[in-house]
Symmetry: D2
Subunit: 354 residues, 4 copies
């Protein structure tokens, strides 16, 4: 089921950039949860194009309509269907690229897979698909906050400019959704400069999940970091993920990378968190920390070499309203996929009475 | 099903370090495939402890016994059951750490999850569990080589020492399973030095999958890189993964990171492969390239701070035969998980006649 | 995923009787299939309340709106989202039974499961949920008819009155969707009489799937009859299912029940079909024949004993527009679940190149 | 995954009649359960050929070897691997039927599916495969009896001779595993007569699950009766299943079939159980009652018409040690599949805190 993720709490999505609507089904959601629609709306707004000054000038309402599974403001325990109407379907925008493979996009691979392709805005590969994830994530966060679990992400690097001396006081403010840091201005400038250059820029997002009880995840294929990786890597534009000391751990000795333990205030504590909150695939109770590499948006107005779908060399300049960086918009999507994954593992663990 | 991975071609495993045997079930394997037992044995041997001079001096036979699904040397299309007997179960080795949480190991998290723990060699979290993966991977490779798809991995960094100027001529030789490169001696020395120090060292493995047809993977949750990430991140000790330009892409402009296309020799071609062979979650036909961060082995003889399972401060020095680096042994496991994932996607794609 | 069925071709549904809309996601549907909307509409119409004179006088439009996965009338290979708006949500009809458990309905069990209950028309347990199945089934039939596979069902028994001497010339006509037979009038009268009595009546549906290639299904848990049984038994009101000689085979000798084979016209042929087209869980190429027991509609206006949801004895007479028999409406639902199951198995089998 | 069944508690099996061993993996089994090996052995013995005077004279030890997931007699929460060695593999017995399709067996369909066939005893379609199910079922029963849930089955009809006036005092005694009843002798005679005739005979098994809490199952595709049906219908030789009044309900009025409710001793109670303990797919707390139609064993020594695998007419008389009825041996298998299904639903329901 390629459009479904999760074991007990599962999200199934549908929808293309330029179809009538996107939507999906959130199944396995517990009964009796008060559905905070204001919170859902605020989460949707964070992802919405045009929500920050760094994004496109498109304005999509992204209004979620819940169609089932909620009665009198409370979840009923049954499948929650939802749709997000596509108010502005302007297919004409895309006619110029109908037969060109946009570099860095799925276009060529898509044709190879399906034998045909919805050229309008990337079809199913559109970033617009992530709106459904953010809805699912908002619902998962409603579950998690009952357990005092929080999921937050922020941009910590843009085009090689790393956040300097940042603390962690989420939620992080627009336009960049980055923690306050010494390089924040430069990071924002980097995106603005890319836009002026008709180009785009990548960066790194950090996500921290705090308050997770020890014991989530499984020792083999359902390791918590394995399922988180699948969930996060399934976001378009993500090219890498690491946990805790991550790629840096590859340069460390075991004596430095292992996190020592002590009894602190009568409870077990780790003296460091190189593990990023996960050991052997199971949560340790420490903050789960991951960093995610996001590539520069492939849609750029600079001219690039490509081919046509009937096999001729061509050049392309992708016109239209494109983000010079998807970093700010990716932040709530990363949170959403992380929240869905943690909530699912939490339900599974509950089945075993722990 | 936390011990199962795959959609049509699925691997289910069982087994602890010190139980009677490990094993599993490979299901959904096509009928009519000649099972090359010599090849399987050679793959198992690559992972086996003691197979390289850099590993432990333990010698485990790791002889796989196929119990079903193969008749007269040919797969029958039904579930392939297999076991690997644990010839040397020496539980006594582990009594000294029975009540201590080894830093960097799953011990503490494991207790939190299950309420009890097989302290003998890590139980289900033991690296020994990967023997079953290598068997599954060898079987998957038999399928892939019929399509001229190859899966190879090699160590490209040890303790911060990066392979210098390496080519890609797999299979790579023992002891390090690294491509020939200017720093090969230094990389090996780094591991030997860690051993002499009673310490361990991490590193980076590169994996390349060549010959994959364009069109594998799916645009949403079953992106090829998402499922590969889950499969690879489920290997113990892996703390990060990246595809193509990966974390480096976060520092690039779109104009540099996008891979231009041209018609070359009458066929579509990418002029670079920053995408690592996957765009929008679907294979492009280029080499799939990923790099995997492996942490230093947590078991070290140097003394470390920890606690006991009844809540007292303690110190621990992990005795016994431990690898100063799991890098060489992880190489065939990475290949195995990659091969299983690709073969599974290939079968799914075939269902759609492509 | 309790709202999802299928392996490669999967249907996920949502929706309550009195919510805003029902709908779902059909995933894994092959690309390039012309979507015959007239056919889909005709299938939906067959299930629709009020479509036959034997049903309720409610008129629901049951107009399906496809939201994704179809472009220019052709499937794109991506998830097909759809909704069916609930035009007439009259919750007031149900206030009188809000705190009463209707005998024969899920009400009591539902409260035990979820701790709360959508009392309006049965919530998720409403027969209205089957509209989504019929849509999925219509789509599956579009796949099957390319292979000349047909799926047809008809009512062969009503309240103990068995169809007499019927042939099999589907599709069967309204109002009963039964094959032409000597007892057809009496069968219809039986339903009319039940209505006049403020009562309801059950019956038996036969379903035949013709043109299925030999080889679908699997020898163990995914036996074709096992997955068909799950699919059919998941229809509300179904209390039994049998294949081929079914319960009658329990009274037979092996020498009579085994179907002999001969070479006829140069091809293998079975001389009888007691197996109902399935042996060892795998299709034989003969017609797949199953019979399904449907209980009398539980909603009756006759007074019945029950209890209130706060634990007091009570009596209930279910008012409103209820079918005296769901048999005619169940016919297209049975076909739909059968078609989805066969199409799914067909895709899986294709993955193995057969 | 055609060799896997279950959501949280899953059983994956492997093994052919004449391979080296059968076995499997029971995953998702809770930690801390004392594994009563005597009980497991007694369950295995009930299914074993030769365990009753009505079966074959073959004696298979069916000794289960647990390879993982159990330490010091207690489950560890990790995957439980097990094997059952095939002590007596006498392939020579089957050479005479190597190229003949046995009527009533999967042989022909199997060839169509896989393109090849393990002719030795039916390969994966062998009844021997059910030994793994009985092991899984025994483990599931250990879980269920902690909740005072019992699962029992008995033969209530043989060759048309119905048990007369039986009570329900399980476990039922060998040789028939039938409840004490007025026709018990005649039922046994019927099997003996079939054997003398070189023929076989079918029958009906009733299974009752007592003590199940209300609330298991789900309103749509995971209806409790739907998943039970899949589990039971996946047993070789089963051709029909019904719940509660089942096929008889098709002949009833709603006023007779609906089960009235009253408050009895201060608790909700149903005054009858035509529903068979399940309404709308969810358990009601009443006994779950199902009846299963088992066809006559297809292997008979009487001569039958068939064809060869190269397309020639032939006659066949299946020699060897075959049960004239699989009814007694099917009893523990029915219980096993029911127990696995209920235990799985119970774990899922626990995830939701009920």
């Amino acid at each position: 089921m390629p459009s479904t993720i999760g074991t007990l709490l599962s999200l199934t999505t549908f929808g293309e950039s330029h179809g009538a609507a996107l939507g999906g089904v959130l199944d396995g959601y517990p009964a009796g949860i008060a559905i905070d629609e204001d919170f859902i709306r605020s989460e949707m707004d964070r992802r919405r194009p045009g929500s920050t000054s760094l994004g496109t000038s498109r304005s999509e309402a992204d209004s979620v309509r819940i169609l089932s599974g909620v009665m009198d403001g409370v979840s009923t325990g049954t499948a929650i269907g939802f749709i997000i109407e596509n108010s502005s379907q302007r297919s004409s925008d895309y006619s110029s690229i109908q037969h060109l493979y946009r570099p860095g996009h799925a276009d060529y691979a898509y044709d190879a897979k399906f034998g045909l392709r919805d050229y309008r805005g990337g079809g199913r590969s559109s970033g617009r698909e992530t709106a459904c994830r953010v809805f699912g994530g908002a619902m998962a966060k409603l579950l998690l906050r009952r357990e005092a679990i929080s999921v937050d992400a922020g941009v910590i690097e843009v085009g090689g400019i790393r956040a300097e001396g940042y603390g962690w006081n989420p939620p992080f403010p627009a336009p960049l959704y980055a923690p306050e840091n010494g390089n924040l201005e430069r990071m924002i400038d980097e995106i603005e400069q890319a836009r002026r250059d008709g180009d785009s820029v990548g960066g790194i997002i950090e996500c921290r999940i705090r308050g997770v009880m020890a014991g989530l995840g499984d020792p083999v294929f359902d390791k918590l970091d394995a399922t988180l990786s699948r969930a996060i890597m399934s976001i378009g534009g993500v090219k890498g993920i690491e946990f805790g000391s991550g790629f840096e751990s590859a340069r460390m000795r075991g004596s430095a990378n292992n996190d020592p333990m002590r009894i602190v205030d009568g409870r077990p504590a780790f003296l460091s968190n190189n593990a990023g909150g996960i050991l052997g695939g199971i949560s340790t109770g420490e903050d789960i920390v991951m960093r995610i590499a996001v590539k520069p948006t492939p849609s750029i107005s600079k001219e690039q070499l490509t081919i046509t779908d009937d096999g001729r060399d061509a050049a392309i300049s992708v016109k239209g309203r494109h983000d010079p960086s998807i970093l700010p918009r990716a932040v709530p999507v990363v949170e959403a996929m992380a929240a869905l994954t943690i909530a699912d593992h939490m339900l599974v663990q509950r089945a075993y009475g722990r």
